[in-house]
């Protein structure tokens, strides 16, 4: 078992040895679909209700009940398939996956097996400096199980309680090809998959509430080797970062096993985030035989190609499409476009700011630094961010047209976070308009020269470097309002006159 522990040995040569290997990862993601009702009955799917209050005979698996397929769940699954370029099957088949578990009320899960709803497709991720496509094996529809809770009962005995509110919530399982080569790539894949699901509005993407769950199949092999190594499946990773960490851990563990002449065992591991290690859950011998067979209580799922095309035509714009459009229409760098399309609403926000301000690049800079800075600090979504895009657009326009300086702009921005007024009103009310008329600037210059006779003399004597000091003093005196070029002109004139 020493091989399963974290690396402790001196790793002077480990890096070099590691470099000879590559990790091969395939991910299985379960995403809860945000339908109002469950996949096979009319119960609510809302999260957080008191245990066993959103249940009926069907999702409780009582004797005699039958499943009735929720059309919306099918629609959401098809939307997802189309969004990732998968082929949507005209006929797919539900199957029963049989196993015993207290939170699985029927003793089987209705899923899809040899004829899934979608096959193929892929998701593009960042890799190195470019893009890399992670292929998809399939996307299929299934029902969620309930939840087992293990509160401590009397005398320290652990009891098990079952909450079936989640039983029958629709899920899609998205299975990737083993195209992922590192924890980092896995992380990026998950971020982008989640982004697509949320753009489609088919999943709320909340990992804490279990709306998105991920298992990883990990193996290692020598670089250049065609055959795959023996894979281990890691479960129970409750955040994307944990997926990344678990893959890194498992890669390291497997390389050390192989390096020490051992063989990787085919097994299922549970990620322990507190300890930062993956622990054996069950070996290959203990693996279930799920005894899949076609679900006789449901008909085959036959989709009219015209219906599928209608769903396709109603798909919302996807992240990569908006990204392309923003770089094309607004001329902003790809990097900016990527940041700004993190969510559909941020992209919409940006577009409005960009249009209103008349300066898309400046708008992008402001959102990426100022707006996102505040949002990250406050943990706000763009919807919660207090400055509406029209107001921000107005502010940026004032800066872009040099009505105010960037520095003043930031002061106004700070005020806008807590005040209802628009930028124009704030600038006026707080006397923040720039000083750019000849008279006022000359007066300001005279004041500065009078207050700094020494430096003024130096400048007159030809020490140009001190001129910048005087400009700085003028800006300070005017609290940044002095027109930066015009004040220099005024100072020159006044110095010459003096």
């Amino acid at each position: 078992m020493s091989a399963t522990g974290p690396a402790t040995e001196s790793t002077a040569g480990a890096g070099a040895r590691q470099d000879r290997y590559e990790t091969v990862v395939g991910l299985e993601v379960h995403a809860q679909l945000r339908t109002e009702s469950k996949i096979f009955c009319g119960c609510s799917t809302k999260f957080g209700a008191r245990p066993n209050t959103q249940v009926c005979p069907v999702c409780l698996g009582l004797p005699g009940v039958l499943p009735v397929l929720n059309e919306r769940a099918v629609r959401f699954a098809v939307m997802t398939g189309l969004a990732v370029g998968a082929k949507v099957a005209e006929r797919s088949v539900f199957a029963r996956k049989n196993y015993f578990y207290p939170d699985l009320p029927k003793g089987y899960q209705i899923s899809q097996y040899d004829r899934p709803l979608c096959t193929g497709g892929g998701i593009d991720i960042r890799s190195g400096g470019g893009w890399k496509r992670i292929g998809l094996v399939r996307i299929h529809l299934e029902e969620d199980a309930g939840k087992s809770l293990h509160p401590e009962g009397r005398e320290g005995v652990t009891t098990t309680r079952v909450d079936l509110n989640r039983s029958g919530v629709p899920l899609i399982e998205i299975v990737s090809e083993p195209d992922i080569r590192s924890g980092t790539e896995a992380y990026d894949y998950l971020i982008r998959l989640k982004q697509i699901l949320m753009y489609l509005d088919v999943c709320d993407g909340n990992m804490e509430e279990g709306s998105l769950r991920c298992d990883a199949n990990v193996s290692v092999r020598l670089k250049g080797q065609a055959a795959f190594g023996t894979k281990a499946e890691i479960k129970n990773m409750n955040s994307f970062r944990n997926v990344e960490r678990a893959i890194a851990f498992e890669t390291d563990r497997q390389i050390r096993i192989v390096e020490s002449g051992g063989r990787v065992a085919q097994e299922t591991l549970l990620w322990n985030a507190d300890k930062g290690i993956a622990e054996t859950m069950r070996s290959k011998e203990e693996a279930h035989d799920y005894r899949y067979f076609p679900e006789p209580d449901l008909l085959t799922l036959d989709l009219d190609p015209a219906w599928v095309e209608a769903v396709r035509s109603e798909l919302p714009e996807l992240p990569h499409q908006i990204r392309d459009r923003l770089t094309r229409d607004f001329g902003i760098p790809e990097y900016d476009a990527e940041v700004l399309t993190e969510t559909r609403s941020l992209a919409t926000y940006y577009e409005e700011v960009a249009r209103r301000s008349g300066n898309p690049k400046l708008a992008s800079n402001w959102i990426m630094t100022e707006v996102n800075g505040i949002r990250n600090k406050e943990g706000q979504s763009i919807e919660e961010f207090p400055i509406r895009p029209d107001r921000l657009g107005d502010l940026i326009k004032m800066i872009a047209t040099e009505r105010i300086s960037g520095k003043i702009g930031k002061q106004v921005f700070e005020m806008m976070l807590t005040r209802p007024e628009g930028p124009d009103e704030l600038v006026k009310a707080h006397g923040l308009l720039p000083i750019d008329d000849e008279g006022s600037l000359r007066a300001l210059a005279r004041e500065v020269i009078a207050a700094n006779p020494g430096p003024a003399a130096e400048v007159r004597a030809g020490k140009e470097r001190t001129f910048a000091f005087l400009v700085g003093q003028a800006m300070k005196q005017s609290r940044g309002r002095a027109h930066p070029e015009k004040i220099q002109e005024a100072l020159r004139k006044e110095l010459g006159a003096g």
Partner: protein, 493 residues
């Protein structure tokens, strides 16, 4: 109260209640009183509640008094097989594992019957989870055949069939997976219809083998069979396999005779091992129908002889999955044990009877990795061939006529230890189940030992009316007093 009308048809009883000639309450009391005298001998019911039955009857009377328009089943007593869910009324499926279980909802057919104004006499005995052909697999007690108390009533709907034969109720519902309505109907000398798969919603029928299970009516006349079928058939949103094509059968259609109808007899399937008296009855009925203008011809069902093998892979496979929910976690029996695995094992080991355990094992094996292709998948392919056999035969013939069972009712205990012999008793009923086509068992006389003989009519999907019409034609000239079990009529007080 006299038993005067307990052997009247449901049609006549319903008519008399609707015309207020009798109250539903009087009807219910008469049947309940009779049941009190027969129940001990026959052991037809797992659950009866006199007060509940009377309350249902007086509710019907109140509806009639209010001027509500009720159906021809108003006030008619109906017995329900114990695998049909009844709200807050015990539903055990003849199993210990569901002892004391009270469903929180009514099956679709139960709902329909309540609306129609039927009155429930109780829940009838059956083989555990409908697995069996004799009702001996009930975890509670075996039911007796009213024609001979030493013989089985058939199964699995033995309680329902015996109850109707004995005049405890004019109508009953059973369920048929491989013959569980038809075979007991034949053994008890009554009508039993297995509708087309999808004709009746299975919502609330405790599943045995989902792709085969159908709820079907049991009655003493063809018209009563139609009457009950008409109330339960049709599309139900809660069962995706139920079909809108299933339409009510107009009673007048049953009187149209058989002139011009082509009836096929599958001689290749009937072959050897069939009781000669049953074969004689088949010929007698065929001749009588020919005389009425039917054309009798031979049809072939070449793959039907693989039916039992096919059925005993598919049905147990589905059952092994359907019965997984009885795990002691949420309802029903739970064994007291120390850990989860033991809880499953002991609960299911003690809660299920031998036959149920046998079929779960069979089915689990058939679906196992490495065996699926050879067993389950192969069986599904043969099933397709059998379905095609029927399609072809039924292009040549309008209905197929064959025995319901190879033998008359056998003795209690005779086949309990020989499951294969028990399974083979379903050789004529299983093919129609696999094909999903409608099949009707109708009484076709008695053996010399005064045991009922049942013959079977199999038809095209959703052509239940044709089957009922043929049976009605035979019945209209051959119904006789022999249909009253003498054992009981002799004991009438």
């Amino acid at each position: 109260m006299s038993d005067a009308f307990v052997l009247e048809s449901a049609e006549a009883i319903g008519r008399s209640v609707l015309s207020r000639e009798r109250s539903a309450g009087d009807v219910a009391r008469t049947f309940l009183d009779r049941m009190d005298r027969t129940a001990e001998q026959l052991r037809t019911y797992l659950h009866r509640d006199r007060e509940q039955t009377l309350a249902m009857a007086s509710a019907v009377d109140a509806r009639i008094a209010r001027g509500e328009r009720l159906t021809p089943l108003a006030g008619v007593p109906v017995a329900l097989k114990d695998n049909l869910c009844t709200r807050c009324v015990p539903t055990t499926c003849g199993s210990k594992i569901l002892e004391g279980y009270l469903p929180p909802y009514d099956a679709h057919v139960v709902e329909r019957l309540r609306e129609a104004g039927a009155v429930f006499t109780g829940k009838t005995n059956c083989d555990e989870f409908a697995m069996g052909s004799s009702t001996e697999n009930s975890a509670y007690f075996p039911t007796k055949n009213p024609w001979d108390l030493e013989r089985v009533p058939g199964g699995s709907s033995g309680g329902s069939a015996a109850s109707v034969a004995a005049g405890e109720a004019p109508l009953a519902l059973g369920s048929d997976t491989g013959g569980s309505v038809r075979q007991p109907a034949a053994f008890c000398g009554v009508f039993g219809l297995k509708p087309t798969y999808g004709a009746v919603s299975r919502y609330g029928l405790v599943a045995f083998a989902s792709s085969l299970d159908q709820i079907g009516p049991i009655a003493r006349t063809a018209r009563d069979t139609a009457l009950l079928y008409n109330v339960i058939c049709g599309r139900d949103e809660r069962d995706m396999t139920s079909r809108a094509e299933a339409a009510a059968v107009p009673l007048e259609d049953l009187e149209r005779g058989v002139s011009g109808l082509r009836l096929g007899i599958p001689r290749d399937l009937i072959g050897e091992g069939v009781d000669p008296e049953i074969l004689a009855s088949l010929d007698r009925v065929a001749k009588a129908l020919a005389k009425k203008g039917a054309e009798i011809l031979d049809v072939s069902l070449p793959h039907a002889r693989y039916s039992i093998a096919t059925y005993y892979l598919i049905a147990p496979a589905e059952a092994s999955s359907n019965l997984a929910r009885y795990d002691g976690v949420r309802y029903g029996f739970r064994a007291k044990t120390d850990d989860l695995q033991a809880m499953y094992a002991v609960t299911r080991g003690r809660g299920f009877g031998r036959e149920v355990r046998r079929r779960i094992l069979l089915g689990t094996y058939a679906l196992s990795a490495g065996y699926y292709d050879a067993y389950y998948l192969r069986a599904m392919k043969v099933r397709t061939l059998i379905r095609r056999d029927f399609e072809q035969a039924l292009t040549r013939a309008d209905a197929i006529l064959l025995p319901t069972t190879p033998t008359p009712p056998f003795k209690i205990g005779e086949k309990v230890d020989d499951p294969l012999a028990m399974y083979l008793n379903d050789i004529f009923s299983v093919p129609a189940s696999l094909a999903g086509v409608p099949a009707l068992s109708f009484p076709a006389g008695m053996t010399k030992a005064n045991l009922p003989i049942g013959l079977q009519l199999v038809g095209r999907p959703f052509e239940e009316a044709t089957l009922l019409r043929v049976a009605r034609t035979w019945e209209s000239e051959n119904a006789d007093a022999a249909r009253v079990p003498r054992l009981l009529s002799e004991r009438r007080s």
